[in-house]
């Protein structure tokens, strides 16, 4: 993000005193940045304040501090189920997506077979199709497979939906691991699969983390697919639960809604922080030195 600050010409500029023009320029720059940041953050004020407000309403107000909303969220009969459904779907689709993606990505990276380039290009092209454009036919296919209104159907659709991206990511990740490392394992008597497990899997951590985060956040935040695929209230994930709660026009429980939104935002936020830290630590560097 800040690679520009490394450029060697900067110190020379700093040495001469600031001209009035520079001061004006910098002031305008900071004002613009602060305005942008306010634009980005102010809309969240209602969610944050209302979640801890005993008498929350539809608009921003100074809260009567209490964690009552969260207590009610976890004590209410329907709402904890939303979290569980969301977790089941997001974790399920991420695991399935990664299993398929690692195996496929390894094949795409290590084997030269006919149609490989065609396949890679085709799944890249799939990215061009906006989701609403295929949801209708997908729904009918799911009806025929009797997979609508089931969590495993939703898991399957979301896992496959993110598969093109995961395949590309994992192909690139495996590409970066020298084949020599695997060959060394073969020489030491490992079979191909053992070599994958002992050599390749430990080294694809960063790529795997990135793919997992993308897939989890995509599945966790998905609104259209569960809206179309699920009809039973007991299967709803948080996205649909929040939408339904918000749609009860006249008797919306604003405090509970804001608390649900906070619960909904937390897992991707935690994952983001966690994976980001891990992404920085590349384990590949040391592997080739010995």
């Amino acid at each position: 993000m800040s690679a520009v600050s490394e450029n060697p010409l900067v110190p020379m500029q700093r040495r001469r005193p600031l001209q009035p023009v520079d001061v004006v320029q910098r002031t305008i720059g900071y004002v613009l940045l602060v305005l942008l940041v306010l634009f980005c953050l102010v809309p969240f004020a209602w969610v944050l304040l209302s979640a801890v407000d005993q008498n929350a309403g539809a608009t921003v107000q100074w809260p009567t501090w209490s964690f009552d909303n969260f207590t009610r969220f976890f004590a209410a009969p329907g709402t904890p189920m939303l979290v569980i459904n969301s977790l089941v779907v997001a974790i399920g689709s991420t695991v399935l997506n990664l299993a398929l993606g690692v195996a496929g990505g390894y094949a795409l990276s290590r084997f030269d077979f006919r149609g490989r380039r065609f396949f890679m290009f085709s799944i890249l092209l799939i990215r061009v199709v906006p989701a609403p454009a295929t949801i209708v036919a997908l729904y009918l296919i799911m009806v025929n497979l009797q997979l609508t209104n089931t969590l495993h159907g939703l898991i399957l659709v979301q896992a496959v939906g993110g598969l093109p991206v995961t395949l590309w990511l994992m192909k690139g990740t495996v590409d970066a691991i020298p084949l020599e490392l695997e060959e060394a394992a073969w020489v030491d008597g490992s079979t191909r699969l053992q070599a994958i497990r002992r050599v390749v899997l430990p080294l694809i951590g960063p790529g795997l983390g990135a793919a997992a985060m993308l897939q989890f956040m995509g599945s966790w935040g998905d609104f259209l697919t569960p809206l179309v695929m699920l009809q039973s209230q007991e299967l709803y994930p948080l996205a649909i639960g929040l939408f339904r709660a918000f749609s009860e026009r006249d008797h919306v429980d604003w405090g509970l809604l804001a608390a649900s939104a906070i619960v909904y935002v937390l897992p991707p936020a935690i994952l983001y922080i966690f994976v980001r830290k891990h992404l920085l630590r590349s384990s590949l560097g040391g592997a080739l030195k010995g």
């Binding site: 993000m1 800040s2 520009v4 600050s5 010409l9 940045l33 942008l36 940041v37 980005c40 953050l41 809309p43 969240f44 004020a45 209602w46 969610v47 539809a58 608009t59 921003v60 398929l100 993606g101 195996a103 496929g104 094949a107 990276s109 084997f111 030269d112 006919r114 396949f119 799944i123 799939i126 199709v129 906006p130 989701a131 454009a133 295929t134 949801i135 209708v136 036919a137 997908l138 399957l156 496959v160 598969l163 093109p164 395949l167 084949l179 020599e180 490392l181 060959e183 073969w186 191909r192 609104f223 259209l224 179309v228 948080l238 996205a239 939408f243 918000f246 939104a261 935002v265 080739l288």
Partner: protein, 314 residues
Amino acid sequence: MTTIVDLPAAAQDATRQPARRRRRVRSTWPIVAVLLGPSAILISLFIVLPAVYGLWLSLTNTQLTGFAARDPKFVGLDNYVYLLTSSDFLASLGQTGTFLLFSAIIGQTVLGMVAAILLSRPWVRGKGVFGAAILMPMVVPEVVASLAWASVLATSPEGTLNRLTSLFGAEPTSWLQTVPMVAIILVNVWRGLAFAMIMFQAALEDVPVELIEAARVDGASATQVFRHVTLPLIRGPVFLYLLLTTISTVGVFGLVYFLTRGGPGGQTRLAAIYIYERALQFSQIGIGSAASIILLVIVLVLGVVYVRLAKVKV
């Protein structure tokens, strides 16, 4: 890569001509089928088949319920004729175009560029904090984004936007009723601005500093440098961004549906919402599918135009 030299002689024999086979081993179909087969089958079934099946459905009068549900008939291009003469659908396409032009192509691009340029200035302190704050709208799920904006756009005088405008003496407005399109454009600019910023930051970092310095030494103003040096150099990434944001903006559904449900009076019924209503609420699968295909064709045409304009080889 140098490790190969240190391998024992036996290893050299075992791997035969490692240089040539370094990246890929000769094809062995069974193992490829086992590793890649499941992915290929599932992608065909859940991504490729819906597109093909959608094309077929768009030529039939398939319904979810009722008489036509049992016995769908081939109706040729009837659905397309219906849609292209339907003022509702044409209005919906027009709204999608307006939404795309003002929120993605103008709003996100300009604000994203401003943010990227400001954060690339060497004198800016706290880049991490500013960057993280601007990323927030993109990281949260879209339902939460909509919910947050519901309070900003609220009708009552306590709505955040109404409080802001009242500082300038304006009367409270019910934003989602009086100017619904402007409201959802604003929301989408907010949501997508961070992605534009990330794309442009990466592009700006690749512009050689020497070129900019040289232009400055020759007396060019900052605006001239941007217009004649920076912009031509980041042309490729800018059009790639426009392609990506066009695809995702045409695909925007939840963000708008949550706030307006396409209303009031169909004023924010974007094509995605039109498709959802027709196919899944009025159960007219045939018409919904035809609308999907039309939308898909428009996105593909726009994609080709961008690639041409970008003058980059793909």
